[in-house]
């Protein structure tokens, strides 16, 4: 609603600015009156378009624009309808593209949620976030571009639960303060060196983390057919734990 209102206001402001500009530009002559009539009609259309669209005729402004397009492209005998059709088709195309974009957004969120649930079912670590990037293909087909999983490396969830069960509210999550994420990009086949955090991890922890990463990757490739090189697992230390 607010977005629509601001769009409408923007349009009105723009048209009035244009009108002022035209007024300045005009050669001082008898043309002035005629031009003012046309410009004021424009302003009228812009002012009326939301009201009229809301009342009954959804496509008022589009129709006005199409009509203009017609007249500007019609020759003396008026091959008008072609231009109008073309214009309306263009509008339809624009709408369709927007629809595809929205569908992609919804799909992305759903997919991230599903992957998150799956990982939380099978793995001991808590999942902080799952980011999925989708690629839109040439004929509006969606494909998974990349998946990034950020895990909180705080050992077993159950242990955390037990520790905080005294408070009765389950996990107490302190506000997340920005910390440097510890990147362990696990590429199958070649081991990448990891960024060592301030508090260096032990070898066994690293091994278990690598193992977890492998497991998650295998699961994702099995279930979602995502190629392994598009999956990125990141371990993050729990900010609620002291250094």
């Amino acid at each position: 609603m607010i977005a629509w209102l601001s769009g409408w206001l923007k349009e009105i402001i723009m048209v009035i600015l244009l009108a002022t500009f035209v007024d300045l530009m005009l050669p001082n002559s008898s043309m002035q009156r005629y031009v003012k009539v046309v410009i004021s009609l424009f302003i009228l259309v812009v002012l009326l378009s939301p009201i009229l669209s809301a009342l009954f005729d959804r496509s008022f402004s589009i129709k006005a624009a199409a009509e203009l397009e017609n007249w500007s492209q019609a020759d003396a005998y008026g091959k008008a309808s072609e231009a109008a059709t073309r214009y309306i088709l263009q509008q339809g195309e624009k709408l369709r593209e927007e629809g595809v974009k929205q569908a992609a957004d919804i799909t992305r969120e759903r997919l991230a949620g599903l992957i998150r649930q799956q990982i939380e079912r099978t793995e001991p670590q808590r999942v902080r976030e799952v980011n999925v990037k989708l690629d839109i293909g040439p004929n509006q087909s969606l494909s998974i571009g990349s998946v990034q999983v950020v895990l909180l490396n705080d050992g077993e969830r159950d242990a955390v639960k037990e520790k905080s069960s005294g408070s009765g509210t389950g996990l107490t999550i302190s506000p997340v303060k920005p910390i440097e994420p510890v990147d362990i990009k696990i590429h199958v086949g070649k081991q990448k060196s990891e960024a060592v955090p301030a508090a260096a991890r032990t070898e066994s922890e690293n091994a278990s983390m690598r193992e977890t990463g492998r497991r998650i990757k295998r699961m994702l490739t099995d279930q979602w057919k995502i190629p392994e090189d598009k999956i990125q697992i990141i371990f993050d230390r729990d900010p609620s734990k002291p250094e």
Binding site: M14, V15, F21, L44, V45, V46, F60, A64, E69, S72
Partner: protein, 129 residues
């Protein structure tokens, strides 16, 4: 600097046409015409810059481009009609000049026809039959 150049061209052309006018009025008219065209060409770059700015503004405010196009067309028609009429008036043909102005006015009004039709149609639809 540009302003001075333009005024310079205008002054030179005026002096020359005053000199020629005694002998050959036709050439004086042509001189005035071409001076006008040269000054106009001089300004075309600047006009393009203005139009570009307006287009950017229109795109940002999601206004329909066809409105901007129409407005620019109106300015163009008004200026061309004005220019032509003035040159012809200088040559002493008042009647032809007024015809050109008439043509300009009518073409501007034609631009308004589609808007008027859309508004009227919509209003008629609003009224109960």
């Amino acid at each position: 600097m540009e302003m001075i150049q333009i005024v310079g061209i205008g002054l030179i052309a005026t002096v020359l046409s005053l000199v020629i006018k005694e002998q050959k009025p036709v050439f004086a008219f042509l001189l005035a015409l071409f001076t006008g065209i040269i000054i106009f060409l001089y300004l075309i770059g600047k006009i393009a810059a203005i139009i570009r700015v307006l287009e950017n503004l229109a795109e940002q405010s999601h206004i329909n481009m066809i409105f901007l196009k129409t407005v620019l067309k109106i300015i163009g028609i008004a200026y061309i009609a004005e220019f032509g009429a003035q040159v012809i008036r200088d040559a002493g043909q008042e009647s032809i000049a007024s015809k050109i102005e008439l043509a300009g006015k009518i073409l501007i009004m034609v631009m308004a026809i589609p808007i008027i039709t859309v508004i009227i149609e919509t209003v008629i639809k609003l009224l109960p039959a």
